[in-house]
Every structure is written in structure tokens, then in C-alpha cells.
């Protein structure tokens, strides 16, 4: 079955359309123009308890991070990249943050109340720490050593005692799923309410998962050049205002000059 966007909206008014794929005629929401390069976007989970919903490592070692929080100018795209780089021990330039694409990114409530760093970042950090733990375990098993004997630099795991024993994250997991569950918490406090996650399960560190302390962070807390500025000053930043879909029309609210006004058929729009 093939439907245009417009037909879909029209049909949806009086019938239920079920069991469709978005890959034929209808474009998925491409909030930041970042997802077009992904081959099969819908194959990726978005439920909060799956590590794969939040983070993936490609065969080239590039790390994709998926967040429901969006950057409207505060610089969190850069900040999220910094914290993933630190928590996972990968180069900052290898981290790509995908934001606010409902087909790809888990629901994280609202990007409001200055909570992107304080609340929105937590699941990402937990996911990165969990991914690192899984990867170290894989490397330890492969080398026949304990995890305590391993170091990670720029996405490469090395056994301290045997320098020849080293393996990259890309070799360990590149292009494949982690298939790991993350512990969840449900918050009901005021801060959670303000940022729209009240009552919503969100990842938290399981008892055995240690997040890095301030002394172990290289980039978090440092002021580094923002990743979004070059595109913004050259007119190539993909603002939502630039999104064009087939047969797109624009609507606007026309407010009457007086209350209780009625629309009359003789009235014409300019």
C-alpha cells in the first residue's frame, strides 16, 4: 500500500490505517536532517530499557548517540558529545549525537527547564558507562585476563600486562547490537515534572555500574568549540523551518477581531 502524506492525513480522518511501513511513500520525521544516511532506521529500538536504543558503535568505530532531548541553542549537542567521549573513552570527533527524531530517539520528555544537562544527559551517560562495561568484559574474555587489567584509550582496549593484546571497540561490537538491558528509575519529583519525565521510566545506573568521577573526566567541564556553529554561520544548519515535504502547505491561525465572530462563506483569504 502506498500513500502520500496528504492522503494519509485525509484517510486517517475517517478510517484507521494500520500495519504500514514508512519506507515507501511517507518520509519519517527528519528533525535535524541527520538520519537520512541511515539505511534502516526503523530497525533500531527506542524503548528506554534497551542500551541499543541509546547508543551504537559502527564498524568504523563511530559512535551514534540517540537522544530525545534537542539543542535549541544551548550547546547540548556538543555537551552530550563531551560526556559520551569521556564516559566511553572514545575521541570526541567520533561521537555523533542524533537528537529529537521520534523514529530513532527514546522519549525523554521535554527539552525545557534548563534540564538537558542535569536530567537529559543521565540516560546517555548510563548507556555509555554500560557499553564500556560490556566491551571491557568482551575484551577480558577474549584475552583471558580480568577486567581490572584492562585500559581503554580512544576506543582501543589494551591489557596492561601484555601490550600486544589490544582490540578496538569497532572490532568487538562494530555494526552489531549490544542486546543489553539498562536499569530503570521512575522519578516523581518537581525537577522531573518540569522536564516532562514524571512517571516515565528512564535509565539509571544499576548497583554494579560505576560512572566516572570528576577526576576521570577529560572533556566534561571544559569549554570546547561548539559543533553547531560552523553550519549556523554559513546557512547550512538544518533548522526545522527548512524541512520540506512533498505537497507541503502552510497554515496559520486567523483570529477574529471580535469575540464570538463566525466564519462566513463570503469571506475570502488574501
Amino acid at each position: 500500500m502506498k500513500l502520500s502524506r496528504r492522503e494519509f492525513v485525509r484517510k486517517g480522518r475517517d478510517s484507521l490505517v494500520v500495519g504500514f511501513s514508512f519506507h515507501s511513500g511517507i518520509l519519517p520525521a527528519i528533525a535535524w536532517g541527520q538520519t537520512a544516511a541511515l539505511a534502516v532506521p526503523s530497525a533500531k529500538p527506542v524503548i528506554p530499557e534497551e542500551l541499543d536504543s541509546w547508543l551504537s558503535i559502527g564498524r568504523d568505530g563511530k559512535v551514534m548517540v540517540y537522544t530525545g532531548r534537542i539543542d535549541m541553542g544551548t550547546g547540548v549537542e556538543t555537551a552530550f558529545g563531551q560526556l559520551i567521549s569521556d564516559e566511553l573513552d572514545v575521541p570526541f570527533q567520533n561521537v555523533k549525537v542524533v537528537m529529537g527524531d521520534t523514529e530513532l530517539t527514546p522519549d525523554q520528555g521535554k527539552s525545557t527547564a534548563s534540564s538537558n544537562a542535569s536530567i537529559g544527559a543521565k540516560p546517555l551517560r548510563v548507556a555509555a558507562a554500560e557499553a564500556r562495561r560490556v566491551l571491557l568484559k568482551m575484551a577480558a574474555d577474549r584475552f583471558g585476563v580480568s577486567v581490572d587489567e584492562l585500559d581503554v584509550t580512544d576506543g582501543v582496549v589494551r591489557a596492561r600486562s601484555v601490550p600486544s593484546k589490544q582490540i578496538s571497540y569497532a572490532e568487538l561490537i562494530g555494526g552489531r547490537r549490544f542486546r543489553t538491558r539498562l536499569a530503570q528509575e521512575v522519578r516523581r519529583d518537581e525537577e522531573a515534572a518540569r522536564s516532562g519525565i514524571i512517571g516515565m521510566p528512564q535509565p539509571t545506573a544499576s548497583p554494579g555500574l560505576r560512572l566516572k568521577g570528576p577526576g576521570e573526566l577529560r572533556l566534561v567541564g571544559k569549554s570546547i568549540p561548539r559543533v553547531d556553529v560552523p553550519a549556523k554561520v554559513t546557512g547550512s544548519n538544518p533548522y526545522v523551518h527548512n524541512v520540506r515535504v512533498p505537497q507541503m502547505l502552510h497554515g496559520r491561525v486567523i483570529r477574529p477581531p471580535k469575540s464570538e465572530a463566525l466564519w462566513s462563506a463570503s469571506m475570502r483569504l488574501p
Binding site: G73, T74, D228, V229, V233, T234, G235, S236, Y239, H241
Partner: protein
Amino acid sequence: MKTQLRVNGRTAMVDVDPATPLLYVLRNDLRLDGPKFGCGLGQCGACTIIASGKPIRSCITPVSAVRDKEILTLEGLGTRQQPHPIQQAFINEQAAQCGYCVSGVILTAKAFLDQNPNPTDEQIRRALAGVLCRCGTHLEIIRAVKRAAEHRATV
């Protein structure tokens, strides 16, 4: 009506009502996303482009008024790979947050620096008073314009 325009050094033909705001033609017909729709009333400056050297508000300028002008948008200045010195100055000073205003800010600054290559801070402030930034990037913007002026002096 068929209208010929000169935009970013190229000739473009569009078929629009002569009263159509230039901004709509740039964004919708020519797919130039640099200029932005802000207030639609010529008051915020987000739509500012340069027409034959002068910064103008493209949201309230009918396309018929610029037929004989050389139009410059942010895209015509430089690219991500090869930014114009003013764009580079904005990158160096990190003078953008949401960046929605920055096209109008940069083009206003370009037209201003072309006329005033050696401005004081006060002159920069006055020149940019009509392009509004709601994020609060004002100090970085002033530093960026100053840096661009200094760069110009050294080349």
C-alpha cells in the same frame, strides 16, 4: 510574473507576483535557507540580506524592488569548508547559540564593515542595534565583528 534576479553572483528566474516579499522568493523559490523569517514586519532583522551593498529587510521588500540589484545572502558569503573572514570570526568567537538571527547579524556586519573598516565598539553596537538576538550572544557578536575588522586590516 517572470522576474530575473541576481543572487549570490548568479542569475535566477522566478515566476511570482511582483509584490511577493523577497524573503519568500529566496527561501521558497530559490531554496536559500540562510535568510530567516522572524517577525515578518521588518523589525527583528533575521531576514536581512544585502542588496547592492545595502542591508535590507527581505521580509518587507517586494521582489519587484530588487530586480536591478546584486543580492547577497549568507550562502553567497562563504561555505562551511571555506568560510568568509566574517563567518570565520563568528566561529572563532563562538558567536551563535540558536543561530536563528546570525544570518541577519553577519550580513548587517558585512555591509557595515564595507563602509566602516575601522569601527569602534560603540559604532558596532549602533550598527547592530536593529538585529535582535534573543539568546544573549551580544558580547560574542561584538567581539566577532571586531575580530573581522582586525582581520581585514591585516590582509
